[in-house]
């Protein structure tokens, strides 16, 4: 199983679950490569939005970190927004993490 994450969250030792490809189709790192710090800097310098790494828990760990960065005001707004949620508690929590991640990102850009 694999996780799709932003290059921002890459760490040494993670293994690529698919080739890293630039916009013009060049493969800069192959599937299976165990990432070094140099590889990570190379990826970050190429304007690549997503990287697939092995391990599906990594996606959720990164999502929690991204959500944690949201300020209290956004956390309160997200809590309120889920008034009508009919998902299970676990599913609701996962969607709340997504909400926090993106609302914080959008707030940071405006």
């Amino acid at each position: 199983m694999a996780s799709r994450i932003s290059p921002r969250w890459l760490e040494e030792g993670m293994r690529l679950a698919s080739d890293v490809v630039t916009d013009d189709g060049a493969v800069i790192l192959p599937k299976g490569k165990e990432l070094t710090q140099e590889d990570i800097e190379n990826i970050k310098g190429k304007n690549i939005s997503w990287v697939m790494v092995e391990g599906d828990n990594i996606f959720f760990d990164v999502l929690k970190k991204e959500a944690e960065m949201a300020p209290d005001e956004i956390k309160r707004a997200v809590e309120k927004a889920f008034k009508y949620s009919n998902f299970s508690p676990k599913e609701t929590e996962q969607f709340k993490l997504l909400a926090l991640k993106y609302r914080n990102s959008i707030a940071g850009k405006s």
Partner: protein, 290 residues
């Protein structure tokens, strides 16, 4: 798939909502587009009778929605470049927007926020359609853009209702839909359904507008599209794009996500892809304003 709307609701709607009929040229164009053997040339000829309509269609065609590198200057040119089926989406959009051109919005409904939300649902619907490899990706932007038109119809042409609905929504801090049901007895999806049928718009568009809050009960043939717009509406509210009339995320059955084969990681990717289009689609707001 038509929703059975009780007669008393239709009667109440007709008494209080003063929806304009479509202008003659638009009505004729939409009717022609519903015929299986109509020629593109014939449609272009009729459209050309209305320069305002031509102008709006060309603005849509030249927007980031299609993303062509060069200006398209005539409807004939648009037909050659896009083909008839792809141009239909632009024609339907221009037709619907034409109706709100001269309307009055003065009871406090946030129309700019409404359109920002609608564009958000449009870009995420398009991203979902692309991910699912559906053939009519651009049409899903239009489905998303127009999914909540019922609210605008009530704001512009059903003020007697919305003058009570909007304050009630704020006072009780409930969803706009809940306030609509309490005051009117039906919600904006029913309004959109009645009006789109009246205007003879395509069935897929009608079903999206009618069923996007009630997907689990939909058994019609446009299920992927209805599901896509329902999910896109949910995700647009999730990330807080625009204003859909309240600050709440609509309830949505998890089966809709399963039906579209969407796990959380895919949803994250779809949101990212959709939002990356938002800035370039903001020129649509200018087209909408006319």
């Amino acid at each position: 798939m038509a929703k059975t709307i009780p007669v008393h609701i239709k009667q109440k709607f007709e008494q209080v909502v003063n929806v304009p009929t479509l202008p003659k040229v638009l009505s004729k164009v939409i009717s022609m587009l519903g015929e299986p053997r109509v020629s593109a040339r014939e449609v272009a000829k009729v459209i050309s009778q209305d320069q305002a309509l031509v102008s709006r269609i060309l603005r849509i065609v030249n927007s980031a929605f299609y993303g062509f590198p060069r200006q398209i200057k005539t409807i004939d040119h648009a037909l050659v470049i896009l083909g008839f089926n792809r141009l239909k989406a632009a024609i339907f959009t221009a037709s619907v927007l034409e109706v709100f051109k001269n309307g009055q919005n003065d009871i406090g409904f946030d129309v700019n926020g409404f359109w920002e939300h609608s564009i958000g649902v449009g870009v995420i619907s398009k991203a979902l359609a692309k991910h699912l490899r559906l053939p009519n990706v651009e049409e899903h932007f239009i489905f998303g853009l127009l999914h909540d038109v019922g609210k605008l119809i009530l704001d512009y042409y059903g003020k007697e209702f919305y003058e009570k609905v909007l304050p009630l929504q704020k006072e009780k801090d409930v969803s706009l839909r809940e306030a609509e049901l309490e005051v009117i007895g039906f919600d904006h999806s029913i309004v959109g359904s009645i009006v789109f049928e009246k205007w003879n718009l395509p069935y897929d568009m009608i079903d999206v507008v009618t069923w996007h809050h009630d997907v689990v009960n939909y058994n019609g043939k446009f299920l992927p599209s209805v599901g896509i717009v329902a999910v896109a509406d949910f995700l647009t509210r999730l990330v807080g794009i625009g204003y859909g009339g309240d600050m709440f995320i609509p309830p949505l059955h998890k089966n809709v996500f399963s039906m579209l084969n969407l796990d959380l990681m895919t949803v994250d990717y779809i949101i990212y892809e959709g939002l990356s289009q938002m800035d370039s689609m903001r020129d649509f707001l200018d087209i909408i304003r006319g």
